[in-house]
């Protein structure tokens, strides 16, 4: 299983809100697919899939906050 992590966006940016997921649980995804969009106060950022597989679960849902390093979802 591979974790989709909220990446470092810049020092001082510690958290972001998930604006939307581009995939649903169970969907097949490819390495580099933009799986979800997170937003800070002035920037949106598309998080990429680190590996190919099936999106097993979404841990941080649309509208919820995540901290840098948090697991947003799991690929299997």
């Amino acid at each position: 299983m591979i974790k989709i992590i909220l990446p470092e966006l810049g020092e001082g940016i510690t958290k972001a809100t998930v604006a939307c997921w581009h995939f649903s649980e169970g969907d097949t995804i490819h390495t580099g697919d933009e799986v979800c969009e997170v937003t800070t106060d002035k920037a949106t950022f598309n998080v990429e899939a680190p590996a190919a597989g099936r999106l097993r679960s979404i841990a941080v849902k649309q509208g919820q906050d995540g901290l840098v390093g948090d697991v947003l979802g799991i690929i299997e």
């Binding site: 966006l9 810049g10 020092e11 001082g12 940016i13 809100t17 604006a19 580099g32 933009e34 969009e37 937003t39 800070t40 106060d41 002035k42 920037a43 949106t44 950022f45 598309n46 990429e48």
Partner: protein, 222 residues
């Protein structure tokens, strides 16, 4: 590193957005970055942190006033674009710089502050509030709260930036009464209002190019 400048003139928001998205794809594919200037017909763009309470009129009332509404994939709340505001879109591959959104936004703000200084306007950034602000002055003294003169909101795909800034050059400011700009209880101002004269848009673009090239250490070509 080379950055190409494009001037799209007065263009409706949707057309510019589609063109910008194509630019992003091109830069992701390895083309050099773009610095895009344009002005938009009156439109309110609703960013990802948009709150209904940031609209001070109903959407129907806003559209009746000839102002379009668009939901967009940039950070921030609501902002207004209209003729007289210089919109600067920056499509830049941050893989070639620092992959750091904080530094990128700070550099954009620095270009904006230096630009205003070139026109004799003292502007500041404020911790916790993105954008650029000026102090209100009366009889040579700063009074009251700051007024916002430049708004910033960006999007990032595969570390390529898009969206950018709205610089109120000669903007029709009463249109801002439709909204709480960026969700803030803040008055908006313009270079023309501060300087009490119309400002030449071409001069603003030219100075922006110079300062952007200097601060981002890139060669600007037309």
């Amino acid at each position: 590193m080379k950055i190409i400048v494009e001037d799209w003139g007065l263009v409706d928001y949707t057309t510019a957005y589609q063109r910008q998205k194509r630019m992003v794809e091109a830069v992701i594919s390895g083309e050099c970055g773009r610095l895009i200037f344009c002005e938009h017909l009156p439109v309110l763009t609703l960013g990802r942190l948009f709150k209904e309470s940031s609209l001070l009129y109903s959407k129907e009332e806003i559209e009746q006033k000839g102002v379009d509404l668009q939901t967009v994939d940039r950070g921030g709340d609501v902002t207004l674009h209209s003729p007289g505001q210089l919109v600067v879109y920056v499509v830049l591959d941050l893989n070639l710089f620092d992959r750091n959104l904080k530094i990128y936004l700070e550099k954009l703000e620095q270009v904006a502050i230096d630009l205003l200084r070139e026109f004799g306007i003292l502007a500041v950034s404020i911790a916790g509030k993105r954008g650029v602000f000026v102090h209100k002055f009366q009889s040579g003294f700063a009074v009251g709260s700051e007024e916002k003169i430049i708004s910033i909101g960006i999007g990032v795909r595969k570390w390529v930036t898009y969206h950018g800034l709205g610089i109120n050059v000669n903007t029709d400011l009463p249109l801002f009464s439709l909204i709480k700009p960026c969700g803030l209880d803040v008055q908006m101002t313009s270079m023309a209002k501060v300087l009490r004269c119309q400002v030449t848009m071409e001069e603003v673009k030219s100075k922006w190019e110079q300062l952007f090239g200097s601060i981002f250490e890139v060669n600007i070509v037309r």
